[in-house]
Amino acid sequence: MKEKMNIKENEIVVPGQILATGKKFIPSGKCIRIDENIVSTVVGAVTIKDEVIKVNSNSNNYSPEIGDKIIGKIISMNNYGWRADIGSNMVVELDLRDASTSFIESGKMDKFMSVGDTIYAEITRKHRENFKISTKNKPFRKLIPGKLINVKNSSIPRIIGKSGSMINMIKEASNCNVIVGQNNMVYVQNDNIENIFKVQNAIKLIESEANSSGLTEKIKEMLTK
Amino acid sequence: MSENNYLNELMKNNYRDDGRKLDEYREIEIETNIVGQANGSARVKIGKTEVIAGVKFGTGTPYPDTPNEGMFMVNMELHPMANPDYSHGPPSPEAIEISRVIDRAIRESKTVNFEDLCIREGELAWSLSVDIYPINADGNLFDAGVIAALLAIKNAKFPEIEAETDKVLHDTRTDKGLTLQNIPAMVTIAKIGDNLIVDPSYDEEKIMDARIHIATIDNGNICAMQKGGSKSMKIEELKNAIELSGSKGNELRKLIKSIK
């Protein structure tokens, strides 16, 4: 049986590309086995660990997964709960019983949360094809109205920084409340709108210069001016 | 999908659920001149699939780039009476596709010489409209439609035209008609798993992965082709389908030619 490895670690591959040939290889992530070959199904980077070939999508598009922490906007409400837009035409559901640890009278639902509110929630389960979220546990909750910034998927690790170093520095230096949602959304809130603009510019800079060194210092300088 | 496995097992042994071989057509019944108002008509049954085609002649001004040719159009409606899958309303993409594919097969075969439709060059020409309706849709409306359309055209007779006014006297008939030159024969092949089957029934169409319609003319040349369905075909499969359509097409053509 002819075995062949066609790619190397971290190589960028495209749909249809044959990554390896041979029965021993195991596809993981965004690649599949077609007869003898392991084929990539997306544009992404390859990682190889023993026989496991994994492709991670480079797409900027957020794909919800259980456990994700997301920021959304309430778009509708009915007797059973709310629905929230989490970007890119995706909608998730918040059932009444998952909204809070305290009791919410069904007639007084809109006092608790209504259309237009911003929320920080976690994706807890899937019911049929719809994702369900919860704001029951800390730190998830309804947020004070603030600015929502759409960021690139690939920028998120940089915005958070190693062990949160970047995001914590931003929060301290700007005095803003900043929350990063895994759905490519960043929430910024402060009573002074100037501070919000500072953070917005800082994030824009991080997105455009993600690979440069000394970025943390640059951002700190920008925010403390 | 145990039902599919059963069908696959059958097909491996060259049999289909209704007992046919993979390359066998259902029984074809043909009747012509069945409706009086139409200038030409035909009823074709392939198994339980039944369609009626009617030809109406009208007149009009030729297109500026073809002043000595008449106008030609084939339309097929997927009428709800033939199958609960079809609904009323504007033509669905399926109805549009089948109309256009049948139209192309007949038009590109050059079976009708459009110059035969010319009355006065640049001024007046016949328009030949073929309308095909399914009475019962039990699979393979494409092939039935083509045969019905051809035979309706074959036995169509022109109405009279009033000499001074150029008005068409639709209730009259002359004994003049059209001579069909090349006879296109369309063969529909369905791909189910690794099998290619000819003349799919409704049940087979429901489970097929892809379909291909290939129309050939007398000299074996291809005049129209259309692949449909959401799955792809392997290169070899496409080549095999073309070969199959050649031989089955000749059989169909013989049948069509034998009808007066």
Partner: protein
Amino acid sequence: MAGKSSEPLIVKGKRLDGRKPSELRKITAEVGVIEKAVGSARFTMGETVAVASVYGPMEVHPRHKEKSDRAILKVNYAMLPFSTSDRCRPGPSRRSKEISKVISEALEASILLEKYPARMFEIDVVILNANAGTRTAAINAASLACADAGIEMRDLVCSVAAGKAEDTVLLDLFQPEDNYGQADLPMAVLPNLGEISLVQMDGDLSIKEFNEGFDMILESAKEIYEIQKNALMEKQK
């Protein structure tokens, strides 16, 4: 298809634009051209320009079209009124509806629809300039836009048409040749898998001529794959 051209279309083995019979027109490809779209691409073949946008995965509207085990595609192909020499009326025509349908099927054969149950992808392709081969340019643009959107596919979909003019089988006809075309054979190929997801034909081709055209298409599909691949890689830089 009209009669004979007054000028010969092929002189000493060269076509009016200098190409050999089996040669593709100049192709350009770019992804991420529409900022708002989840995926997008622009694909040109000679003077023909197609732009595609992808939105989704989203909930299915109208609801009754939803399939519980897989995604559905809503493809809309349109030629803009100024894209043709005689202005074409805006709005869908029977031709554009058929082309939308075959483009959808050409893509469905490659997309892993089962990965997105009960969801819909809306794919719009517009032709900005038409110089023959519009549906093939549209499919190439749509394939790239889907890959740009991160939709999982078994292969990129590579499309080109063969045809016949002056009794010669030619690849990727442009307008002057298409006007006198004797046959048109557009196809979509999944080049790494060796599969065909679209084939249409009208005109007159002997089996030998069909095979000639088919071989040209299969060869050039590999070229088109490399062009699509480069466009996707370019964005990663």
